[in-house]
């Protein structure tokens, strides 16, 4: 998760103090790894330097937390284009699993056993994520869902590959 873009996005919502940004970041995006204050202010400093935010008037009062950060036109444009741009769809043909299977077949090793172990590992992780879902809040649930659907896609690939192993073995042997 891109910290600068996330903080910028939070500022697009409303001008905020560094403290509020950290709190909202930790609630929704940090996944158990709170964002250090140092990183919050360093990031805000860079965003300000690049003209994506400006520091508002220092407010009177006690305590260190008196600056409010405001997004600029340039910052808002950047948030907009980041949100609209799709994430690169990875060409999954070069995954580790694919390489393992083909190599295993080339070396005459038991690819199916490796895939079975991989399936068990995937299922165990899916069990853990399901447990998180069953006991967690909505944010945990949504993140667990994301993991579950990806693992499920891998499992479909594993099942289909197991069904294709004989054909693949023949092809690999011919080269």
């Amino acid at each position: 998760m891109s910290v600068p873009m996330t903080l910028l996005g939070l500022l697009e919502r409303e001008p905020s103090h560094g403290y509020d940004l950290k709190r909202d970041y930790d609630t929704f995006f940090s996944r158990g790894k709170p964002l250090p204050f140092g990183q919050v202010y360093a990031t805000l400093g860079r965003l300000a330097r690049d003209g994506k935010i400006v520091v508002g008037e220092v407010e009177p009062g006690v305590g260190p937390e008196r600056k409010r950060y405001v997004i600029t036109e340039r910052g808002a444009t950047e948030v907009e284009s980041w949100l609209t741009e799709p994430v690169e769809a990875e060409p999954n043909l070069q995954t580790v699993l694919f390489t393992k299977v083909v190599l295993a077949l080339m070396l005459g090793r038991p690819a199916e056993e490796y895939l079975d172990v991989q399936r068990a590992t995937h299922l165990r992780r899916m069990q853990e994520l399901t447990e998180i879902k069953r006991s967690g809040n909505l944010v945990d649930t949504m993140l667990a869902d994301h993991g579950l659907f990806h693992l499920e896609a891998d499992l479909h690939w594993i099942d289909t590959t197991v069904a294709r192993l004989d054909a693949l073995r023949t092809m690999v042997a011919q080269r």
Partner: protein
């Protein structure tokens, strides 16, 4: 303690071997997912465990008692009194209301109508079906009907619940709600569950997964 177990079970439909030496054992209170490719023998295994089909060879044991050698009448009494069932398409009785459907296993084992319905009714609130007890199955959505079927499977507090693709006809979120209810209710009642599914996200609700391939049961091998 073992609740239900298949030992080296083989069964053919004519020339087609569906099971060829299937062995699996499910502990009391355990939820086991049976996965595997289409046609591998999952449903056949479930039907053998539940005493619906009789294997050509091998043995089925329930709570330490061999059940595949029982007569059809004894097996049908066992199914009625100790087992619950949920299938892919709820298979509710269309002539009955939803609450009569839930009460059905109790009615069939001789509980009086009033008492059976009184036991059926609380399930509607806990399954998020408040107010739908009087509807007939044709007036329920697929997800609602499936929850009614789940209640029917569990209402008599069976020793084992057999579920064959219970979420197969549902979208992900509805399927998830059904699984959540299945797991929570089975745990509360201490019901053992044999859950056939090809869906890994459904299988992930189970304590353990096994895979049926070519009529045999493989445990998952972890690294």
């Amino acid at each position: 303690m073992t609740a239900i177990e298949a030992r080296d079970v083989a069964l053919s439909f004519g020339e087609t071997p569906a099971l060829r030496g299937a062995t699996v054992s499910v502990a009391s209170g355990e939820i086991v997912a049976v996965m595997g490719p289409s046609g591998s023998g999952k449903s056949t295994l479930l039907h053998c465990l539940a005493g619906i089909l009789v294997p050509d060879s091998g043995e089925i044991h329930f709570e330490g008692r061999r059940i595949d050698t029982l007569s059809e009448t004894e097996r049908s009494a066992l199914r009625r009194d100790r087992f619950g069932f949920v299938f892919q398409f709820g298979q509710l009785v269309p002539e009955l209301t939803a609450e009569e459907n839930v009460a059905l296993p109790l009615l069939l084992s001789g509980v009086k109508r009033g008492a059976a319905l009184a036991q059926a009714r609380p399930w509607f609130d806990r399954l998020g079906l408040t107010g739908l007890g009087r509807r007939r199955s044709g007036e329920l959505s697929g997800g609602q009907a499936q929850r009614v079927a789940l209640a029917r499977g569990l209402v008599a507090r069976p020793g084992v619940l057999f579920a064959d693709e219970p979420t197969g006809a549902l979208d992900s979120l509805t399927g998830e709600q059904v699984m959540e209810l299945l797991v929570t209710s089975a745990r509360e009642q201490g019901t053992t569950v044999v859950l056939v599914t090809h869906d890994a996200r459904v299988a992930a609700y189970a304590d353990r997964q096994v895979i049926v391939r070519d009529g045999k049961v493989n445990a998952l091998v972890h690294s």
